[in-house]
């Protein structure tokens, strides 16, 4: 029976009527191109959520087969074995075995294999074969395998593994139709799948599986005639003890310069757009509360946050490119000793680097660390990494207070200060991690055992899709939390209004003014005025909100709104501005982070510890910065 006949037969067997949707789950080793396959299968029909009860990211999409049948695709976390070692891998195992609470067991398991690297995935294939659920093996990146002169006997492989084998190139959408046909064909066997009798394999069982995998590989695969030598050559530079570290520092430094410099034209454009919008709305609407809400609250508030989207996109672009290129694992290798010295796992580098974008995905990414103590340590320090939400705050203060001048003729002073703030976050994270390991926990960490994938040219479509997905998540945050916070602060700043015949700006009489004045004495030693104190309160919702809050506070107070920075430069001393920067390096100004920590650790204990230590650190740091700056005459 030829494949299309098979598909028709399946459709006919289902009674001609629209057949029940098929549920397929993607399984594979890390770096097997599983995400690219998910994108190739589902296109933009994707939904990102969480699994019920756990915080593992759940990616589901769907496609319509040529015969009109709906196939939903679940992208499971990457794994080397069904013997799960982390919460992510537990999800994969339980989903494959049909044990996952709240999930319908998949009809078909689709195993995605990197055709150029079959050894480990072959053992996983044998594990899946023994489970006995309907499965399909996709030999992905078959183009690279062919180029290397690697020959795979797919027919023999299918017999050995008792599952259909298709060859695919996910990034070029090659072999996808055939894969869909096989998924449909295998789904017909779903009802007769054996009961779940899986148990964890022993070391002896693993050795036996390895021998079996080795035998199958010898029988079905001819080693490449032109093996990849590029990876080895590049590694001899990128993993070199001196050159490798040099490249790593250049990459990281370039990333921060790019975030600061490349985004500038786009940010100027966005700024101008929101200002024009505010002016248009201001002219169209009659004076009053509604106009104030829309121009001062919504447009000024959200505009001053959305404007930083270019920086977030550039940062994620770097992270995703480095990940897809295969450099992330190398960076983890280079940094393992430093991380290990601070009591962190080499793999903690990935959650911590993600925390440069946002602590929330960073804290969620700590699930790649199996050991609970290693994970908790990483979670505790992740918010110290400079997240993208700090960028708006840093940018605002730096461009207002630090002169636009060159250092040593090439580096911008502003960029240098920016880099310094990043470094302060990173170093403090390492010191805190070290202290946590010394004070709270002594003893060994998890083994550092990581595959270094072959280098691959990132696929532009996949990179674009992933960057857009991250940008969308950021904007959703800006659109929900931030907008509602902007309206709340506008309310706090507007009501109650100033009494008749009052002297001074109206905001002095509002709730925000009252709160700001109430906590200001505590913050006076670190140089905060009451407007800054007010900005910290809505700033708890998200760090970037402080920018909108300052904008609203000063806009409502009647200061010059056209350039918030200029207004701040006028009203703050340099010492206060520097103390504000220091505060934002350390302070736990993000309720969402604390909420995620609660969820990840399943206890209020850790978010409370995090809040206390970070606030303490922020206060002490700001105090030192402010008092030093005042002593040097910047007060």
């Amino acid at each position: 029976m030829t494949p299309p006949d098979l598909a028709t037969a399946v459709a006919a067997a289902a009674g001609g009527a629209p057949a029940a949707p098929i549920r397929a789950a993607l399984v594979g080793n890390p770096n097997s191109g599983k995400t690219a396959m998910f994108n190739a299968l589902t296109g933009s029909r994707q939904k990102v959520a969480n699994y019920a009860g756990v915080t593992v990211e759940r990616k589901e999409g769907h496609l319509i087969a040529p015969d009109g049948r709906r196939i939903s695709i679940l992208d499971l976390p990457g794994t080397y074995s069904l013997r799960a070692r982390s919460p992510d891998e537990v999800v994969t195992r339980d989903a494959v075995l049909g044990r996952l609470a709240g999930e319908t067991p998949p009809d078909v398991v689709v195993l995605i294999a990197d055709a150029t690297n079959l050894r480990l995935v072959m053992r996983l294939a044998l594990e899946l074969r023994d489970v006995g659920r309907p499965a399909v093996l996709a030999l992905n990146m078959i183009d690279i395998a062919t180029r290397q002169g690697l020959e795979i006997d797919a027919t023999r492989l299918a017999i050995e593994l008792s599952m259909p084998v298709v060859t695919t190139v996910a990034t070029r959408k090659r072999g996808i139709d055939e894969l869909v046909i096989q998924i449909e064909a295998q789904a017909a066997n779903s009802a007769t799948a054996p009961a779940d009798t899986w148990t964890e394999p022993s070391a002896a069982a693993l050795r036996a599986l390895h021998r079996e995998a080795e035998r199958i590989l010898k029988a079905c695969v001819l080693p490449p005639r032109r093996p990849d030598t590029f990876t080895g050559k590049l590694d001899s530079v990128l993993l070199h003890p001196v050159a490798g570290i040099g490249v790593l520092l250049v990459v990281l430094f370039l990333m921060f310069q790019a975030v600061f410099a490349w985004a500038a034209p786009l940010m100027d454009l966005s700024n101008a757009g929101f200002e024009a919008l505010g002016a248009v709305m201001g002219n169209l609407m009659p004076d009053g509360l509604l106009k104030s809400l829309i121009t001062d609250g919504i447009i000024a508030g959200v505009g001053s946050v959305v404007v930083f989207l270019p920086q977030i996109v550039i940062l994620f672009l770097f992270i995703i490119l480095l990940e897809d290129f295969g450099y992330m694992a190398r960076a983890a290798f280079l940094l393992d000793k430093i991380m290990g010295g601070a009591g962190l796992h080499g793999r903690a580098f990935i959650p911590l680097l993600s925390s440069f974008a946002c602590a929330i995905p960073g804290i969620m990414a700590t699930r790649v660390i199996d050991n609970k103590r290693d994970r908790l340590t990483t979670i505790l320090v992740a918010p110290l990494m400079t997240c993208s939400a700090r960028i708006p705050v840093y940018t605002l203060i730096i461009s207002a207070f630090i002169p636009r001048q060159q250092v040593w003729g090439v580096l911008s002073l502003q960029g240098l200060i920016f880099f310094g703030l990043y470094a302060a976050g990173l170093i403090s994270a390492l010191v805190v991690a070290w202290l946590v390991r010394k004070v709270f926990w002594r003893g060994a960490a998890e083994p550092f055992l990581m595959e270094l994938p072959a280098y691959k040219i990132p696929d532009p479509m996949n990179v674009a899709r992933n960057v857009l997905q991250r940008a969308q998540i950021f904007l959703q945050r800006a659109g929900t939390i931030i907008l509602s916070m902007m309206i709340l602060i506008w309310f706090l700043c507007t009501f109650p209004g100033a009494p008749a015949g009052a002297v001074g700006p109206a905001i002095d009489y509002s709730f925000a003014g009252m709160i700001g004045h109430a906590i200001q004495p505590v913050l006076a030693p670190i140089g905060f005025n009451w407007q800054m104190s007010v900005a910290l309160i809505p700033g708890m919702a998200a760090r970037e909100v402080a920018v909108g809050a300052l904008g609203t506070v000063y806009a409502v107070a009647g200061a010059d709104t056209s350039v918030l920075g200029a207004s701040l430069a006028h009203q703050w001393s340099l010492a206060s501005a520097l103390a504000f920067l220091a505060w934002y390096v350390f302070a736990p100004q993000c309720a969402s982070t604390l909420g995620v920590v609660k969820r990840e650790t399943n206890s209020w204990r850790w978010p409370i510890i995090m809040f206390c230590y970070m606030t303490g650190l922020a206060y002490v740091a700001s105090l030192i910065v402010y008092q030093t700056a005042v002593a040097m005459g910047a007060g």
Partner: protein, 108 residues
């Protein structure tokens, strides 16, 4: 010459054809051979149980008979190491590699 290398040399140059196994943890850059055994070995007291580390090593492809070569060493204390394991590259710390016993190539 470092002590580890000297021990290996002495043993291999000796008149008796005894097979000397060297722990992967003691190999230097360029060290190569075949994995002779993967033993349960607890890296540090209080850490991962020995049999768990053994299974993780097996799952990553550190299995008897596999071809192994140390490609790169970290810049602090030559740790961690990057090894070529059959046709894959794997990074690991020396203390976790302690239980991987290698039959070195004759030239070494």
């Amino acid at each position: 010459m470092d002590p580890v290398r000297r021990i290996a040399d002495t043993d291999l140059d000796g008149p008796l054809e005894t097979i000397t196994l060297v722990s992967l943890a003691d190999g230097r850059r360029g060290f190569s051979g075949y994995i002779a055994s993967v033993d349960a070995h607890a890296p540090v007291p209080g850490g991962l149980a020995a049999h768990e580390l053994e299974r993780r090593l097996l799952e990553m492809g550190f299995v008897e008979g596999a071809r192994i070569e140390i490609l790169h060493e970290g810049f602090i204390g030559r740790d961690p190491i990057c090894v070529k394991l059959d046709d894959m590259r794997v990074a690991l710390r020396r203390r976790d590699a302690r239980g991987v016993m290698v039959r070195p190539d004759a030239a070494q």
